[in-house]
C-alpha cells in the first residue's frame, strides 16, 4: 500500500491513520474530535497531519496473533508508528460514543 494520503490522528496513546479518501468531514465533541468517514464515525483526541505517500506494511503474523484486529497496516512517520485502520472495520476503541457530536 503506497501512494495513499493518510489522515493521522491520535486516540489514547496510539497514532492512527485512515485513508484520506474515506474522510468526509470533521466535527467537535466535548473534548475531542469526530471524524466522519464514508461508513462510520470515529473519535479522536487530536488530528496530527495529512501525509502523502507513506509506506504502509501489512501487520505480521505475530502482531496479528496478539492483536487480532483488522487493519490496513503499519507506517512509520517521523519516528512515530501509525496504525492504518480498515475503514470498514475500525477498532472498537475508536468508536464514537459521545452523544451530541456535531459536525462542522
Amino acid at each position: 500500500m503506497r501512494g495513499t494520503e493518510l489522515l493521522v490522528f491520535v486516540r489514547g496513546e496510539t497514532s492512527w491513520g485512515v485513508e484520506r479518501a474515506e474522510v468526509r468531514r470533521f466535527g467537535v465533541t466535548g473534548g475531542g474530535i469526530t471524524i466522519s468517514l464514508r461508513h462510520d464515525r470515529l473519535r479522536a483526541d487530536r488530528v496530527v497531519a495529512m501525509l502523502s505517500t507513506p509506506t504502509v506494511r501489512k501487520p505480521g503474523r505475530i502482531l496479528r496473533r496478539f492483536w487480532p484486529v483488522s487493519s490496513r497496516g503499519l507506517a512509520v512517520v517521523e519516528g512515530q508508528v501509525v496504525v492504518v485502520i480498515d475503514p470498514l472495520a475500525p477498532p472498537p476503541e475508536l468508536a464514537l460514543q459521545t452523544e451530541g457530536a456535531s459536525d462542522e
Binding site: G12, E13, I62, F66, L74, V81
Partner: protein, 149 residues
C-alpha cells in the same frame, strides 16, 4: 530434532550459543542466531484490545516493531526491578516467514554456551527446554513458536 534452530547455532563443541536475559525471576536463553540487536528499552505505544503479552508497537530501524513482554510470555513471577531493562530484537516465527519482534526483558546478562547434553526437553510452547547455568535453571526459548496461532 528437538532444537532445530538451536542446533544450527551450535559452536561445534556440543553447545548452543545463547543470549541470557532475565525476565522477572526467570532466566531465559535466546538462540544467538535469532538475536538481531539488544537495545535500551524501546518506547512502545500500546494497542487497545491487545493481549497482555503485547506491550505495543515501537519504531526500530524505520519500521514498526511489535514488542512483547518476555516475562509475561513465559509466565515469570515478577523479579527485582532492573536499572537496565532492554528490548531484544529477535527473528521469530517459522524460518520461511520469520519476522522481527522485540522482547522486553529486565536485563541482558551474558552470552553463554549451553551444553546440548545438559538440555532437558520441555515442549511447553515457547519454552522448548531447560538447562542449568551456574546452578540456576535457564529456560531455552523456541522463537519459532511465537508465530504459531
Amino acid at each position: 530434532m528437538l532444537y532445530p534452530l538451536l542446533m544450527t547455532s551450535a559452536s561445534g563443541e556440543g553447545g548452543i550459543r545463547c543470549l541470557l536475559v532475565r525476565a522477572g525471576e526467570y532466566l531465559c536463553a535466546l538462540p544467538l542466531n535469532q538475536v538481531r540487536r539488544v537495545v535500551a528499552t524501546l518506547t512502545t505505544h500500546p494497542l487497545p484490545g491487545a493481549a497482555p503479552e503485547l506491550l505495543g508497537l515501537a519504531e526500530f530501524a524505520g519500521e514498526a516493531l511489535p514488542v512483547l513482554d518476555l516475562a509475561c510470555l513465559v509466565n515469570a513471577p515478577a523479579g527485582a526491578a532492573s536499572g537496565q531493562p532492554v528490548t531484544v530484537v529477535v527473528w521469530a516465527g517459522p524460518p520461511a516467514e520469520r519476522e522481527l519482534v522485540g522482547l522486553a526483558a529486565d536485563e541482558a546478562l551474558a552470552i553463554v554456551e549451553l551444553p546440548l547434553h545438559a538440555l532437558t526437553e520441555t515442549r511447553l510452547g515457547l519454552v522448548s527446554g531447560e538447562a542449568l547455568q551456574a546452578g540456576r535453571p535457564v529456560r531455552v526459548l523456541n522463537l519459532e513458536h511465537l508465530g504459531a496461532t
